[in-house]
Symmetry: C2
Subunit: 414 residues, 2 copies
Amino acid sequence: MNTAVIDTVQANGRRYAKPKHPVVVVCVDGCEPDYVTQAIQAGVAPYLERMLAQGSSLIGDCVVPSFTNPNNVSIVTGVPPSVHGICGNYFYDVAADREVMMNDPEYLRAPTLLAAFADAGALVAAVTAKDKLRTMLGHGLKGICFSAEKADKATVGECGIDNVLELVGKPVPSVYSADLSEFVFAAGVRLMETRRPDLLYLSTTDYVQHKCAPGTPEANAFYAMMDGYLSQLDALGAVIGLTADHGMSPKTDAAGNPRVVYLQQELDAQLGAGSTRVILPITDPYVVHHGALGSFATIYVNAGATLEGVRSALTALPGVEVVLTREEAVQRFELAGDRIGDLVVVSDHLTVLGTSAARHDLSGLTVPLRSHGGISEQKVPLLFNRPLRNVEPGRRLRNFDVFDLALNHTAPSV
Amino acid sequence: MNTAVIDTVQANGRRYAKPKHPVVVVCVDGCEPDYVTQAIQAGVAPYLERMLAQGSSLIGDCVVPSFTNPNNVSIVTGVPPSVHGICGNYFYDVAADREVMMNDPEYLRAPTLLAAFADAGALVAAVTAKDKLRTMLGHGLKGICFSAEKADKATVGECGIDNVLELVGKPVPSVYSADLSEFVFAAGVRLMETRRPDLLYLSTTDYVQHKCAPGTPEANAFYAMMDGYLSQLDALGAVIGLTADHGMSPKTDAAGNPRVVYLQQELDAQLGAGSTRVILPITDPYVVHHGALGSFATIYVNAGATLEGVRSALTALPGVEVVLTREEAVQRFELAGDRIGDLVVVSDHLTVLGTSAARHDLSGLTVPLRSHGGISEQKVPLLFNRPLRNVEPGRRLRNFDVFDLALNHTAPSV
């Protein structure tokens, strides 16, 4: 057996081989596996079809809550929220008694593997669609990190790069558009052409997936666009690993009406106003396309109500799939106990959870609601343009294993 | 309060009002709710769009195992398998020590409400796509009951009707086609035009749903076809209730490869050949489009193995969502304990269960496998062309409530 010394980088207790070829990891926001299947079926994704025939096509589990921030952070740290601390886009800071966005690096409890690679001398770049993710993913990173949303604002001091629009040759896209994700891919290709980073992380937005079902013309157009850029990255010699932060399900009845359980409203009516505080960790500044409605909520039980009383009330609500105590949720979903409430509620694959009807603006839902957050959106693709080797049989694969698989388990190019 | 005598029919402990207008109940095989949503979105189902805007759009739970026979029988009896005895398409008859199709009326433990209405003087008709269902649904029915598959063989003696091809004006369709279902709808419209039954039950086949995702051109074409016939039934003055026997999920990775756990193979390898008997209740004579692969299996534990040992082995298999003992399954899914094995296994929404690779012919899978059987396919539409009234809030609706809702809870036509 060849025991030659392998140059490795460590992060959060995991060891990663330094890449011989550039490695690109793509997180396709909201990529339910069927989007890829249907695009291939429709004949619009010839590169992906070839990539999966010659490389590897696996399914992995994402983090529940199946939301963007916890999963992107898991992917770039290689560990679950119990280690890195990001359990949602939004949480209730008990110490400060306020509800806050969890997109400030101060909430991050683990360094990223991107930063570790950069510290070890690798050229690392990360491009996100929305700026909300940039500061967290780029935390401590001595490399390139910018968002499509604020591509025109990127400076060498803050982002390790400037003149991004000139590099990419595209204008700043609208934050609610497929173009926002296309900009991420286009920037990735231009970075690979001009700077050839050792590690490149690309993270898109799920604007299209929230609106369009797999196999529909608009969804296929998105995956056809992606197919072209992935093909270019492959031609540039990159090892590609592709996964998703979460899947996506229709959250409506057959007529297309959203199926919403308004938890705060229900609990207030049954147990009295003020007896509980319902937190929706999907909440972020960009809610037009989903109305802040996802399939995961966490509940703080106040004085005057009992945990068992609230749990019973929640369990009896139609559309609720499972109710867990903090301890059960920490155990099952590997969450940080101090960042979630006393109870965790997950709704079924056709149902989302809200607070009170008056607090959700659904006027932006111009098409039937599709969303995520639950266990039903936990299965995501794990795709590679190389065969994998030495993956232990029966190993439970996670989306946050994507860097491990791409760096430590891809076979050399044929 | 008006306490006028209402003319009712009783069946299996439930009471149904005799209809003033013809009532048509349609069971659309494999109708995941999103098929309807996407067809409406694509603009190809104008009648359904209007029907749901003016009538009622609900979601109900089907019977698990989410297969055709248990659910069609539940719909026409109004009760779960614990009462009617049909827990699958196929089962292991312990007394006879043989594996048999469960499509003989001898296995039926409850009369149908169709037969009860006919006995009470109503004109009742039922049309199924495949002949396998006809004998069971038509058991004891003094009315019309035939299948599209054997429409040319229908005789007055056996089916209460003859010359069906002449009536419908179509040839006998292929058993593997969308035409088989279209024949059912066309026959329904012609029966309504010519005989105006008081109760009409139409049950289609999921050939299209096994092959095509919601919103794809072929799926939309099927629902456009359906839309036209439903519109005609509505124009003929019928109260329409539409539900499904089960939903439908992709059962593949992103590349479209089927995700199969071969249970007999796994258990034989781990516990020794002969220690268990794996039964797949999806099995029926028509397996080309799904290879007898569904998301529900039941296991008989033989001497030499222990229940706990088998349960542990099953629970550890990736893709397995839940393993229940007979008692737990009987309780949770309302099954007949003597018609299932010692354990019940349900796989996740992207995974199906097989016996051994050699025993499944996947050569007929010309497109990525889509199938059902699990909890992930339990949510089905419950649609009516009338508003509903007096439905108890919080009532758990089932697909086998469709006759109750259509007969007892629809408001008079406006």
